[in-house]
């Protein structure tokens, strides 16, 4: 990744314009051909700097208003197996293992999205039954203070 790539990311991270040739303006700004803007973007996707290029959805607006972070206490020797099982649930958008802390035993985290809290709870219950992990806590989001995504 070079300086031009960095500039390219900065110019596109807030969203491209909804015009017939959205990369034209960016090419002018960077003083490179339009095709190079596209090639560079593709390379950034292939190399993993860009996770995906596409639309970010305001899921709250779509009625997917319940968002629960579920924290699970999974025995260390079962994390690989249980993590894969949890990731397989359609309602689960994110699944990570995180470090445990002395005052916080949980080590696996799933983000669950649904239309209602009850649906989130049901999904957590289903996950618990499917994995046999019964020590968990559901942390519903009460307020969204910020959601910008990763920016540079």
């Amino acid at each position: 990744m070079d300086d031009l790539d960095l500039k390219l990311i900065k110019l596109t991270q807030d969203g491209i314009d909804l015009v017939p040739e959205p990369f034209k303006e960016i090419a002018l700004e960077l003083e490179i051909p339009e095709a190079e803007v596209i090639d560079r973007t593709r390379v950034l996707v292939e190399s993993g700097v860009i996770r995906r290029f596409g639309a970010s959805i305001g899921h709250r607006v779509l009625g997917i208003v319940a968002n629960a972070m579920c924290a699970w206490n999974v025995p260390d020797d079962r994390v690989e197996e249980v993590g894969a099982l949890m990731a397989g649930f359609g309602e689960v958008s994110h699944c990570y293992e995180r470090v445990r802390r002395p005052e916080w035993d949980y080590n696996l985290y799933t983000m669950i999205h649904a239309h209602t809290r009850e649906e989130c709870e049901r999904t957590a219950h289903d996950i618990s039954r499917a994995t046999g992990i019964s020590d968990y806590t559901i942390l519903f989001s009460e307020r969204e203070f910020k959601k910008t995504g990763v920016r540079i």
């Binding site: 491209i16 973007t41 996770r51 959805i57 994110h94 203070f145 910020k146 990763v150």
Partner: protein
């Protein structure tokens, strides 16, 4: 849900299509139109409306902190009720904070930090410590699933 939030078939197809497979070419909206059998102009009009009503937040790169050479973490903070608003806005002031939520529980403010380097992350954790409330720092150790595609 308000009237204007009603999505037609074209809206749905576009939303499902452009989350993962936004065409990276000179005229992406024409390509999308070709794929679903409508004109470039119609695609743009639909996407503009979807953006106006908040269904689409933006179309652009979703960045990978690690791919950018950066470091990220999740922080859970224990903040008394009457200090929540002040602390949340103090946290929001960091450009590196990408998500910030109020959640029920002993730890009630949960936010993610994406810094450009490990050094900057370390520095930030110190600054966060200076806010003066107990917190847990919970970095990812294993990734099972990331990235959302909402089927509508």
């Amino acid at each position: 849900m308000t009237q204007e939030l009603e999505l037609d078939d074209t809206d749905r197809r576009l939303i499902n299509l452009i989350q993962l497979d936004f065409p990276l070419d000179l005229c992406p909206f024409r390509t999308l139109g070709d794929q679903i059998g409508i004109s470039e102009q119609e695609v743009i009009e639909h996407l503009k409306r979807l953006t106006d009503i908040g269904v689409i937040r933006r179309i652009g790169p979703i960045l990978n902190t690690k791919g950018l050479g950066g470091a990220s973490t999740l922080i859970a903070m224990r903040v008394p009720e009457d200090a929540i608003d002040r602390v949340a806005s103090e946290i929001n002031d960091f450009d590196e904070v990408s998500h910030n939520y109020l959640r029920h529980g002993v730890y009630n403010i949960w936010f993610t930090v994406s810094a450009r380097s490990k050094e900057r992350l370390h520095e930030m954790v110190n600054e966060i410590e200076a806010i003066g409330y107990p917190f847990l720092e919970l970095p990812v150790t294993r990734l099972f699933k990331i990235g959302v595609k909402f089927e509508v």
